[in-house]
């Protein structure tokens, strides 16, 4: 029940005042970028990185492409982000 309320608040939050990016846009971008950095910069395990970048509620679902070194995230089909590994010195960047 608590999770459902929080998700509802996130969806409502998409219409709130403040900066233009909604909470769901922030959450998907955060997870894409930090999951990319955790996997391809830090070199931690996928299990560690999925836990490290999870938020409560965990609505930003990731898709990891290890061959291209990219991480895409999506929430409720409407919000999403993509981060790519740029190189061993400059790490990951959000598209």
């Amino acid at each position: 029940m608590r999770k459902a309320c929080t998700i509802l608040m996130l969806l409502v939050g998409a219409c709130r005042d403040g900066y233009s990016a909604s909470d769901l846009q922030l959450v998907t971008a955060y997870r894409a970028k930090e999951l990319c950095s955790c996997l391809f910069v830090t070199g931690q395990s996928e299990e560690f990185c999925l836990r490290y970048t999870s938020e409560d509620p965990n609505v930003a679902l990731p898709r990891i492409d290890r061959s291209r070194k990219t991480v895409s995230t999506a929430a409720f089909l409407l919000w999403g982000a993509r981060a790519r590994f740029d190189g061993p010195r400059t790490g990951c960047v959000l598209d």
């Binding site: 233009s20 909470d23 971008a29 910069v41 938020e55």
Partner: protein, 472 residues
């Protein structure tokens, strides 16, 4: 023995000593080494007349005492007035001691030798870091064990890595949760202190000054040209900024989240510059990732034309041997100086050691003279007016956190166990680099303190400093 012969033979002896010293202390300071070598080469032939060894020893002691006194007084030949003083003293000494043709070459050589010697004394060569194997002696075993238990066996926090150095020697190192000595760890806002060091390098190279307007380096709106580099270094741009994070009620109101993950993420400097002023530049202090990012964008604009896009490595990280350093950029190509430096615990310890060594590395000055001391002074805008501090005990310096009391603001020394002149770099979720220049200790702690976990920095520092042997 005549005065002339006394000085000539004495100086000849000292120059021989200087030659030996210079060869023994060869380093990458080309000017210093060349000065010593040329000085000795010019001095030895004209001054080695005479065979009175007692006189030579007396002169060597006299001259050695004078040089040591100059070093103890803090005289440095890189300062024009000091250099002039050396030249005058040398010429006066030689005018008393020498006659004829030898006077023409000897003063030049002696000045060069002294310049080189004292330049080297200002930035001494150090032994390679981590040159000794980690082997705590018996008297350190108990303190080291206490530190290990506190850092890694508590439920109150979650530690990933700890490294403690004293005099560049590794006295403690441990890892957890899959991290190792070679794995970079996100440093979050410790990046701000690292960015400040890159600014220091740029100033040392003469690429910019603290009083430069940001418009001298960036294509900024005209109304923002009153912001100086110094304002950004000490988080006092006056730009209206909300420094809140994911655990705060409204992520959407957070300027830093909007910069990193929202509409500002592609060109963060541009996003920061779109904010209106809350106060005139330099008038107030407010911790701001926007200021830190803008500062790093200015540094990049000043350094990239001379060193290329990877300048942080060529001017700092590679010099310090920070082999795991990763510094992420935004899509516009600016390093995210507020948040996105990754490094191993050892990399961060090396960075701290640069500050222990007053900005010198292997005999070469990396940061401007006085940079480390100034970093540890309470920022003037902080003393005047503080806005929106997350912790009322925070004391802001120049992109570092300080441990000094601020009586006019009723702030006590934040961490009783840490020396008052220490510098603390601090990042989200428990990243810390503590630098204690007087004790020559660096303590690095990396972790993941979230969801109610909290790290007691003072308790950690007490145990780390005890393990390093500087606290009982």
């Amino acid at each position: 023995m005549s005065t002339s012969l006394w000085f000539r033979s004495g100086l000849g002896s000292v120059s021989g000593l200087g030659l030996g010293w210079s060869l023994a202390r060869l380093s990458n300071d080309l000017l210093g080494t060349a000065g010593l070598g040329l000085g000795c080469a010019l001095l030895i032939p004209p001054l080695s007349a005479g065979s009175n060894w007692a006189a030579r020893i007396r002169a060597a002691v006299l001259h050695g005492a004078w040089m040591a006194g100059a070093i103890l007084l803090g005289l440095g030949v890189h300062r024009p007035l000091d250099a002039l003083l050396f030249v005058l003293v040398d010429v006066a000494l030689l005018a008393l001691a020498c006659h004829g043709a030898r006077l023409r070459v000897a003063p030049i050589g002696l000045c060069l030798m002294l310049s080189g010697t004292l330049a080297r004394a200002e930035c001494p060569t150090q032994a390679p870091l981590f040159g000794l194997p980690l082997a705590p002696t018996l008297d350190k075993a108990v303190p080291v064990d206490n530190l290990r238990r506190f850092a890694f066996e508590s439920d109150a926090h979650r530690t990933d890595a700890v490294v403690v150095l004293r005099d560049g020697e590794l006295v403690f190192e441990a890892y957890a949760h899959g991290f190792t000595a070679s794995m970079p760890h996100l440093a979050w806002s410790v990046s701000k202190s690292i960015s400040s060091a890159l600014l220091g390098v740029a100033i040392q190279e003469g690429r910019l000054t603290l009083s430069d307007s940001i418009c001298d380096h960036l294509d900024a709106p005209e109304d923002k040209c009153g912001i100086q580099v110094l304002d950004l270094l000490r988080w006092s741009s006056g730009l209206d900024w909300t420094e809140t994070y994911e655990e705060d009620e409204s992520a959407q109101a957070s300027s830093v989240l909007a910069m990193l993950y929202g509409e500002g993420r592609r060109d963060m400097a541009r996003f920061v510059l779109e904010h209106p002023f809350r106060a005139p530049p330099g008038a107030t202090w407010m911790y701001s990732s926007g200021d830190a990012h803008l500062m790093m964008a200015v540094v990049g604009a000043a350094m990239e034309p001379h060193h290329g896009a990877l300048f942080p490595w060529s001017v700092l990280f590679d010099t310090l041997g920070m082999e795991g350093a990763v510094f992420e950029q935004d899509a516009a190509g600016d390093y995210v100086g507020a948040s996105y430096f990754h490094g191993t615990a050892r990399d961060l310890a090396r960075f701290g050691q640069l500050y222990v060594q007053d900005g010198c590395w292997n005999g070469k000055r990396i940061l401007p003279e006085g940079w480390v001391k100034d970093a540890g002074q309470v920022s003037a805008p902080f003393s005047i007016k503080r806005v929106a501090r997350s912790d009322p005990r925070d004391v802001g310096g120049r992109s570092w956190w300080l441990n000094r009391p601020v009586p006019e603001a009723n702030i006590e020394k934040p961490w009783p166990s840490i020396p008052e002149d220490a510098l603390v770099a601090r990042g989200h979720w428990g990243q810390f680099v503590i630098v204690a220049p007087r004790q020559r200790v660096v303590a690095v702690r990396l972790g993941e303190d979230r969801d109610g976990l909290r790290f007691d920095l003072d308790a950690f520092a007490r145990l780390a400093f005890t393990a390093a042997g500087v606290l009982p």
